[in-house]
């Protein structure tokens, strides 16, 4: 069978880890984003410079309010930054587009469409021929073990199943970049691990660039080539950590735990600033 999705850089082996030499695909320069919440101006992002290479799996890690989702939304084109630029393949991002498929924590499936219709929707928008759509949808349903659910509506699916559909829907677009906003945050631990493994399997097979937002330290170590730890307000890059461990990673390995301890410390510092801030704002009200 011919591959349904383009693989990353030419000549790359299907299963590979690390993208050390691949060209930069997402380039974030001097990004700043501020909001006004009431009278209080909030600087959600400040001085963000970030390069993500083709095929890289990057996690944005940090506590609530650190601006990780804001950064993801800036790359997605939903919220343009107040200052600075986001470029993808040298093109300035000003609006959302199917070249950067997004997976939302809330799944965001269209409830009036069946599983198969949800997956096909993006392809119909591209005005792909019907037969080709059917073939691609079938292939994706198989990939994500959704064949038996093709005619179900999202309301009849579990959270894990819904997120599979959402992943199939963006994979259908065959966009080079996947943006994932805490996609497994609402799932139970076992479903979460299953989907993490499936995501890794698919990523290794089709080689997308993935930018993945999470507040789970363990999830970030389990998945990423590279973890960007962010600070709490203003959101800046606190640390850029390469994860060299081979996959599949063993969460009980000493290396894994060493990194976990190190990252926990960094994240907890920010978490403390977040809780202090929260307490302050409550007492101020």
């Amino acid at each position: 069978m011919t591959p349904m999705l383009k693989t990353i850089a030419d000549g790359q082996p299907a299963a590979w880890t690390g993208a050390g030499t691949a060209p930069v695909q997402i380039s974030v320069r001097g990004v700043e984003k501020s909001f006004t919440a009431g009278a209080q101006p909030i600087v959600a992002l400040k001085d963000i410079d970030l390069d993500i290479r083709k095929g890289e799996f990057v996690c944005l890690l940090g506590p609530s309010g650190c601006g990780k989702s804001t950064l993801l939304n800036a790359v997605a084109g939903f919220q343009p930054p107040t200052r600075g630029t986001v470029n993808v393949d040298g093109r300035l991002i000003t609006e959302p587009g199917p070249d950067r498929g997004m997976v939302f924590q809330e799944y965001a499936l269209f409830p009036w469409m069946t599983v198969a219709q949800n997956v096909a929707f993006g392809l119909e928008i591209k005005t792909m021929p019907k037969a080709e759509i059917a073939e691609r949808v079938e292939w994706l349903l198989g990939k994500l073990h959704l064949q038996d659910f093709r005619n179900r509506y999202p309301k009849d699916l579990s959270g894990g199943m819904r997120q599979r559909v959402a992943i199939a829907r963006v994979l259908a677009l065959d966009s080079p970049i996947l943006l994932m906003d805490e996609p497994f945050g609402a799932l139970d631990a076992l479903t979460r691990r299953t989907l993490q493994d499936e995501l890794l399997r698919i990523w290794e097979e089709v080689g997308k660039t993935i930018l993945f937002v999470t507040h789970s330290i363990e999830e970030s170590i389990y998945l990423a080539d590279r973890i960007i730890v962010m600070t709490y307000r203003p959101g800046t890059i606190k640390r850029d950590v390469q994860v060299e461990m081979p996959r599949p990673r063993d969460a009980s390995a000493p290396e894994f735990n060493r990194l976990k301890r190190e990252l926990s410390q960094m994240v907890m510092e920010e978490q403390q600033r977040f809780s202090q801030d929260e307490i302050r704002s409550v007492t101020a009200d």
């Binding site: 997605a76 939903f78 609006e95 959302p96 587009g97 199917p98 950067r100 498929g101 997004m102 939302f104 809330e106 965001a108 499936l109 269209f110 409830p111 009036w112 469409m113 069946t114 929707f121 993006g122 928008i125 591209k126 509506y153 999202p154 309301k155 829907r169 963006v170 677009l173």
Partner: protein, 277 residues
């Protein structure tokens, strides 16, 4: 939602029939007591007899006249029910057909909303019944004024709910669709419209209920067929049994319309959560 085992189990049927049977028994006892003039309150038996006569064809079957099927449908009641239903459907189609595109436009475009809203807010509180004199003046007698009144009755519920439905579309669907590369027209047809259907159908259901009220009223003034006309006609002859038989038929037709709408709702919203009835 928890449900009783079956709505048609013998126990359930018995329980459901209890109160109606009591009411009828009381009514029959009252009319047999001779305390009440049968012109004021005919006995249930008389009403049922009249209803049956109203339902059956007026003439015996004559093979020379043609089809047996048409003969079976030639009763006065079926003709009246058909006339009323026809007006409801036509008036509703006109009213909802105008309200839906306007509501979509007003819900989607704040500028159109700002333009149209003041006028509609003034017109909306006017009950459709208040349009009767104008309707007769404009359209004379016959089906036209009736359809006009019914259309007005159906228009506002569908309009208001369509506007609300479009405005309440969850932003996450719009973001997901934009991410998939959906343009404006497709967004409207394939995302906003289906997302708003629960609201729109709720409006349609209210609208058809209003249409059914208005059809009975308008038949009392503008036309000489239909269930509304028939009960008013019966009053002129002091046929109180026929009035009640007609009212009962109106109730049955209303129930049938409601069941039909409910079926349609359940089919169109089969994807929707929390739709168990």
């Amino acid at each position: 939602m928890s449900r009783a085992k079956s709505p048609f189990s013998p126990a359930a049927v018995l329980r459901g029939a209890l109160v109606p049977m009591l009411v009828v028994a009381l009514w029959q006892g009252l009319s047999m007591s001779g305390l009440i003039n049968p012109v004021v309150l005919p006995s249930p038996v008389a009403v049922v007899e009249r209803w049956w006569a109203y339902l059956l064809p007026p003439d015996p079957y004559d093979p020379a006249q043609g089809s047996w099927f048409l003969w079976a449908l030639s009763g006065e009641m079926l003709f009246d029910a058909w006339s009323s239903l026809y007006r409801v459907v036509l008036g509703f189609a006109v009213g909802a057909g105008l309200a839906l595109p306007l509501g979509l436009a007003m819900g989607g475009k704040p500028r159109i909303y700002a333009l149209m809203d003041p006028l509609l807010q003034i017109l909306r509180p006017i009950p459709p019944i208040a349009y009767i004199p104008l309707a007769i003046l404009w359209f004379g007698l016959g089906n036209a004024p009736a359809v006009f009144l019914i259309a007005i009755g159906a228009f506002f519920p569908v309009l208001m709910n369509t506007i609300a439905g479009v405005r309440h579309v969850d932003g996450i669907y719009l973001r997901a669709a934009r991410n998939l590369g959906v343009g404006r027209t497709t967004m409207f047809i394939r995302v906003i419209l289906p997302a708003a259907t629960p609201y729109i159908l709720a409006g349609a259901r209210i609208g058809i209920g209003t249409a059914f009220i208005v059809v009975i009223v308008s038949e009392m003034i503008a036309v000489n067929s239909g269930l509304g006309f028939r009960i008013l006609e019966a009053r002129e002859f002091m046929w109180s049994d026929k009035i009640i038989a007609g009212m009962f038929t109106i109730g049955l037709l209303g129930l049938a319309i409601d069941i039909g709408m409910n079926r349609l709702n359940n089919h169109l919203l089969r994807w929707h959560r929390g739709l168990e009835n």
